[in-house]
């Protein structure tokens, strides 16, 4: 079931082989205006699994997620070193098209951010950026994406109504559908449920579990229970460094390090 990881240089840092992993982070560091946010991170993310990044606020988990999507490009003060590769390709390579990369690595943010257009147009947004396709094909993809995001039944009768009229939970699933429509290899989720009510949260969590048959997911969350419920692997970050990384069951029930246990049990924040 789970890929059997082989233990690398440290017992508490799981490593995956090239065939198992989809995304490889090698000695990656990032600084904002000289202030170091990520320090020498090395981490591989297994394909078709949900990997959770946990850690206290400011530990760098969101920064790492944004680095995978090259969102720091928008910030000219950010500098980095090391490599991040997706299926062996360096995402920071000169010949890497950023827009193409971001299509391959979708991202969902903390607060739902549907565009001020209709539900249909929101999902079609990414498709319209690509090569022209027939309306029929586009309609099919939109239906598929909304179905994958467990939203189709709720919105199929009002596809052309404004997306801003949906509830928060529906908006977040719409944003996921919008991302799925461009068929990414990896989906990054930055605290996707933190702004949602409990029922919407459960729906989004269920959606995340179902989606891993289609793609690789990386989840950043503050919510320990959520990480335990949803993820297959968990990476614990602290102070911009990777502290412990392993199968979720093991990290939560039998962590190697005292610091991990302290954080998970709430003794360290």
């Amino acid at each position: 079931m789970l890929a059997s990881p082989h233990v690398s240089n440290a017992a508490y840092l799981t490593h995956f082989s090239a065939e198992q992993s989809c995304l490889n982070i090698e000695r990656f560091s990032l600084a904002y205006a000289g202030k170091i946010a990520l320090r020498e991170l090395t981490l591989s993310v297994p394909r078709h699994r949900v990997t959770a990044f946990i850690g206290p606020s400011g530990c760098g988990k969101s920064t790492l997620l944004r680095a995978i999507n090259r969102l720091h490009d928008l910030n000219e003060n950010a500098t980095h070193s090391g490599r991040i590769t997706i299926e062996g390709e360096d995402i920071y390579a000169d010949n890497m098209q950023v827009s193409e990369l971001r299509r391959r690595i979708g991202m969902v943010f903390q607060t739902p951010n549907p565009f001020p257009m209709s539900i249909y147009e929101n999902v079609a947004f990414g498709l319209r950026l690509q090569k022209r396709m027939s309306k029929r094909k586009r309609d099919d993809i939109i239906e598929w994406a909304l179905t994958s995001a467990a939203l189709w039944d709720e919105v199929k009768d009002r596809l052309h109504k404004s997306a801003w009229q949906l509830s928060g939970g529906q908006q977040q699933r719409l944003v996921i559908a919008r991302t799925l429509a461009v068929q990414p290899d990896i989906l990054l989720l930055d605290e996707p449920a933190s702004a949602l009510d409990p029922i919407s949260t459960l729906k989004v969590e269920e959606l995340i579990r179902n989606l891993k048959s289609q793609l690789t997911l990386i989840l950043v969350t503050h919510n320990m229970q959520q990480a335990a419920r949803v993820s297959d692997y968990t990476a614990f970050l602290h102070g911009g460094e990777l502290i412990e990384y392993g199968p979720t069951d093991q990290v939560f029930t039998n962590p190697h390090l005292q610091r991990t246990e302290d954080y998970i049990t709430g003794r360290m924040t």
Partner: protein, 457 residues
């Protein structure tokens, strides 16, 4: 004190509203009252002299007790003055004869008196028949009635032969029923809006000025909006947010406070004398020394006002751009949009209401601006409209008329201040209404855009 301050705030609001209401009431009553067919009086003084005219207002006598009344008597061709102050205690008798006629004509202004006869070729009509012939003839064009003549008699008994083609309108207010007066009022308002000025802007309509104002504002918007929006995008979306950008931003904001006449001087020096003269030398040398672009005109006026309103547009648009959450930008970028696609597909549509707000502010500022226009292209009386059937249809080098300047000119440069005053009020009212209509259009458009997207605010 803590009890008092809400009242102070409320009082300030009340005072502002009161002033606004007073302004609008003044403009409405004075401006629109001008077109109402006022009752004409025939006044016999105790000296036996008879005058006929419209009572305008009363004032205390300067040298003794009592009041005097101002009458508009017209007939400038007969007695050279159109106004007459009459001490009230000198009036022996006042009446309102139904036969008193008021003719609007050019030259010489209004005639007030009696219609004796209507002569056309061999026809000679008198009494009511003459009046009927006159009203029928006025429905035709000036050309068709060029051979008819009116025999008129003033209240003092002088006789006058008046060619019919110099007459615009005629009415007998004392003989009119209220619905006829209302119809006459609407006709007057319509003629004011649709006709050109006459008698050196003291009479007639303001259509060329309305047209010039609206056209100038439109040309200005077409110029200023792209520039302003692009500049705002650069400042907010592209430029490195450092000290230099902050400095530029402060500079732009302060440009909005530069007195408008300064922009006029700039327009005159750079656009008219600089660029305009060069254009003339290169492309219109055949018609020199009479200038084509080397003199004030619609284009230079629009450019000058575009410059004047540019800071307003930049600031308002930038505020709109700054209000768009970064999550929207990141959402677009995360779907594989390039920076340009993010701007054109997400940011600019979301900023459209702010851009309309910017346009509203620019239009409101530009439509009311007079001082710079006097330097760069507005005319007291433009011989040609800036748009006509002649290629290339829009003549941006022509001088044009403008309501604000027309107002100024009517109020101060006319030969008869008293006669022009109601027109000044009417023109001022019109200017307010035009700015209101332009703004309302933009506000409705903005509301529509927001509603379409389901935005609540």
């Amino acid at each position: 004190m803590s009890r008092l301050w809400p009242w102070l705030c409320a009082a300030s609001v009340a005072l502002s509203l009161l002033m606004l209401a007073a302004l609008l009431t003044l403009l409405l009553t004075r401006g629109l009252g001008h077109f109402w067919p006022a009752t004409l009086e025939s006044v016999t003084l105790d000296s036996g002299e008879i005058i006929a005219g419209e009572a305008v207002r009363e004032a205390p006598l300067p040298h003794r007790d009592g009041e005097e009344r101002l009458y508009f008597t017209g007939n400038r061709d007969l007695d050279s003055h159109r106004w007459r102050w009459v001490a009230i205690d000198r009036i022996a008798e006042r009446s309102t004869p139904r036969a008193l006629v008021r003719l609007e004509r050019s030259p010489w202004g209004d005639f007030i008196g009696y219609l004796s006869a209507f002569e056309s070729g061999s026809d000679h009509l008198e009494g009511d028949a003459a009046w009927h012939a006159l009203t029928t003839a006025l429905a035709h064009t000036t050309f068709e009635r060029s051979n008819a003549t009116l025999v008129l008699q003033s209240a003092t008994g002088e006789t006058l032969r008046q060619p019919l083609n110099e007459i615009y309108r005629a009415h007998r207010p004392n003989a009119m029923a209220w619905w006829e007066k209302i119809r006459y009022w609407f006709q007057g308002v319509w003629q004011f809006l649709s006709e050109g000025p006459r008698a050196a802007n003291t009479g007639g309509g303001v259509w060329p000025a309305i047209f010039g104002t609206v056209l100038m504002v439109m040309v200005m918007s077409v110029i200023v909006m792209p520039f302003g929006v692009l500049a705002a995008i650069y400042l907010n979306e592209i430029a490195h947010q450092g000290r230099l950008t902050r400095l530029v931003r402060i500079g732009v904001r302060n440009l909005a406070g530069v007195p408008s006449i300064v922009y006029g001087v700039f327009g005159l020096g750079v656009f008219v004398y600089g660029i305009g003269s060069s254009l003339d030398a290169w492309f219109f040398s055949d018609s020199l020394p009479s200038p084509t672009f080397g003199t004030g005109g619609l284009l230079w006026a629009s450019l000058t006002l575009a410059l004047l309103t540019l800071p307003v547009v930049i600031v308002a648009t930038e505020e709109g751009l700054a209000r768009i959450p970064d999550a929207q930008r990141e959402g677009a970028v995360a779907l594989g949009a390039t920076r340009l696609e993010m701007l054109t597909r997400v940011v600019l549509p979301m900023a459209a209401p702010a851009m309309l707000t910017a346009m509203i502010l620019a239009v409101a500022r530009a439509a009311g601006e007079v001082a710079p226009l006097m330097l760069v292209g507005v005319a007291k009386l433009a011989p040609q409209m800036p748009v006509d059937g002649e290629f290339p249809y829009l003549h941006v080098e022509r001088k044009f008329m403008h309501l604000g300047y027309h107002l100024f000119d009517t109020a101060y440069h006319g030969e008869d201040m008293q006669a022009a005053l109601p027109l000044v009020y009417a023109t001022a009212l019109l200017l307010v209404v035009i700015v209101l209509v332009l703004n309302l259009t933009a506000i409705l458009l903005r509301h529509y855009l927001r509603h379409q997207r389901g935005q609540s605010c």
